[in-house]
Symmetry: C2
Subunit: 393 residues, 2 copies
């Protein structure tokens, strides 16, 4: 019960800060003594602090106000993707305090070596957090595959060629003590949460976020939460078949969306196969060769992207029929490619959705591009502490 | 607050009945006086009644037990489908007390005339309820189309050729006073709820129920509730495209699943076009001509059903990738067709789902066949009263 009440008071501090104890008692229905006791516990956990005075009502002295302590419980976000690693730190006020992206191709590499490289990135991030006097509560790792969150296991990542990687224990071994355990999640889910908390998502309501990298995934957000499905594998948009009997896919199927609209498929169709081009999240300019050709009006590049947009539109029409989202957010590489891809997506989506609906879902372009997943990962730590501050006691 | 407490006590009576007041006070944490007062209110609303004695613990006299009154708040379920009407009564204990299905083709008929026919069916059902001393709390109507539940409007029913039908007001005019307003919902959603409450659903957890009639819809059940999407149009499985550039569909699209696996498409492919065959829900033996041919080993009928099963399997593979359900229930006509259709569905589904998953979702055949939607409609009335008994005060 006390654990629940801690969460209630913390939520109201977040909502109304700066706010007096008297006002919190009014809002929560707890006595002032109970509010004070709970705030003492939250302050000891580093989550709230006194700061400034607030005038409430017409008369009397201003009261001492309470706010969250943004430095009290930061989140470490980590990401292993097919062709980059990323780390970031988000503070308890959801401000981004550190970001680092490193291009590196992981296809065919040993998972242990890649996790070791990620651990180095994580240690650098934690050093920066320490220098900024941030208390890091925990870490979440974004991974491009199917995750068993109970076991801390990456079960399959077809674009990496990995299977059954005990990612949590590998990372724990490589990381200095965190207050909470390392958690892991699918990058498409985390990218949607990144969009919700750091991008367009705050105004979006229920939406589907399309995460375009080498693989393509979707994060389905309803009522501010990710819909995960019965085994945590929902949102595998990239393996929906758009071309029956088409190109073989790493998943074992044929003609999957990834084979038409994934980053490699687009580069291949644009004649840029083998070019050293890295994902949208990369620090080095990302997709620059393709974007340069698109801007120069190169026919082959433009028709490659248009074709990818059509394939994505076909798949999204099925998403609309099944899930009836309010908004679809184009993220990852589709963010940078939007000027050339979005018209094709919108056209095919409208056509494929029939005339049953009065209005199509809004089609929105992410401003976070490839950085959404690692931000979502860090934000998830903050979210977990907010929902269950007793975790830190 | 009292309204909430009424629902809490009612839920515990349902869960533990027959149960003493003392035990209810223990379970809920309310005082015995509060429990007694709340039970008095629930008894006056006709929802609970004293009955029998229960021995609790080792010593002492048996206590007077409380149970729900199954006759106290029955639900009237109604259904307009493309080629039949249905009505049923379900009592507050979720027992089916009355069912009536009438085959009648509504394509091209005026909505007003069809609603008038449904009103007659509803009045007969209410007369039977009265004879059985059932207090009917409200009615829900199942409709094969897109519903605006705020307005009580059937927006589009492509297989009926109807649009913008003010179904709620039409029905209200035709029905004697009910305690609650008439509500309406999509038949695929209600069929899934029917399966949950009256069919295989109790053991299923999260599932997708496929409602095969002339149209094909899906009801997505998560945590015991229907997922409706942003505008209430989720689950439109029948309009997912399986054959690009295929046959024109009433929705304005081409190659929709309904055009390959809907009842008419199957009959056409089987050479039974124009035969007077009615849906699985009909009272008269349903799909009998097709089933007779299938049982006789007729090649054309068997390959028609197999083709439909393949098309359904292709679509369900997309459902699995997007929603990751635990179980898929084949309902409506697919229930009767299962011996011939299910192997094809299972094969294509397994192939189309790739090798990412260790296990396919279970593929289960509904025992309710076409009767699920009208049962779900009646059950929804009971569910609403259970969640909010204060509605009846």
């Amino acid at each position: 019960m006390r654990e629940h009440n801690l969460a209630v008071v913390l939520a109201e501090v977040i909502r109304h800060q700066p706010v007096t104890r008297a006002r919190l008692a009014e809002i929560t229905g707890f006595t002032k003594t109970t509010v004070s006791n709970l705030l003492t516990v939250l302050a000891e956990a580093g989550l709230v602090r006194d700061g400034g005075f607030v005038h409430e009502g017409e008369r009397g002295r201003p009261g001492v106000a309470v706010s969250i302590d943004p430095n009290g419980a930061a989140g470490l976000g980590l990401e292993i993707n097919v062709d980059y690693l990323a780390a970031c730190i988000v503070d308890f006020g959801r401000r981004i305090r550190y970001r680092h992206v490193v291009a590196s191709d992981h296809r065919g590499r040993a998972p242990e070596a890649v996790v070791e490289a990620l651990s180095r990135l994580a240690r650098e991030a934690l050093a920066s957090a320490k220098a900024q006097e941030l208390a890091v509560a925990g870490a979440v790792v974004a991974l491009p595959g199917l995750i068993d969150r109970e076991q801390g296991l990456l079960r399959r990542a077809p674009n990496l060629g990995w299977g059954q990687v005990p990612i949590r224990s590998l990372l724990r071994a490589g990381l200095p003590a965190l207050r909470l355990a390392v958690d892991e999640d699918n990058e498409a889910n985390l990218a949607a949460l990144g969009e919700l908390w750091f991008g367009a998502g705050r105004e979006l309501g229920d939406f589907v976020h399309v995460s375009g990298e080498i693989g393509i995934g979707a994060g389905i957000v309803m009522d501010g939460r990710i819909f995960r499905g019965a085994h945590g594998f929902a949102g595998e948009l990239g393996h929906i078949v758009v071309e029956r009997g088409g190109a073989a896919c790493g998943c074992g199927g044929r003609g999957c969306l990834e084979q038409s609209a994934g980053q490699e498929a687009i580069l291949r169709a644009a004649g840029l196969e083998g070019t050293k081009v890295t994902s949208a999240a990369s620090a080095d300019g990302s997709l620059s060769a393709l974007l340069a050709r698109l801007e120069a009006g190169d026919d082959r590049a433009r028709s490659a992207v248009k074709r990818a947009g059509k394939a994505l539109g076909i798949t999204l029409a099925s998403v609309v029929h099944l899930l009836d989202p309010d908004t679809i957010v184009l993220g990852g590489i589709f963010s940078a490619l939007a000027p050339w891809a979005k018209p094709a997506v919108a056209k095919v989506l409208a056509k494929g959705s029939g005339t049953l609906r009065d209005a199509m879902p809004r089609l929105v372009v992410s401003r976070l591009a490839g950085g959404a997943a690692v931000l979502g990962a860090a934000g998830l730590v903050v979210e977990r502490v907010t929902a269950e501050p007793a975790l830190l006691l």
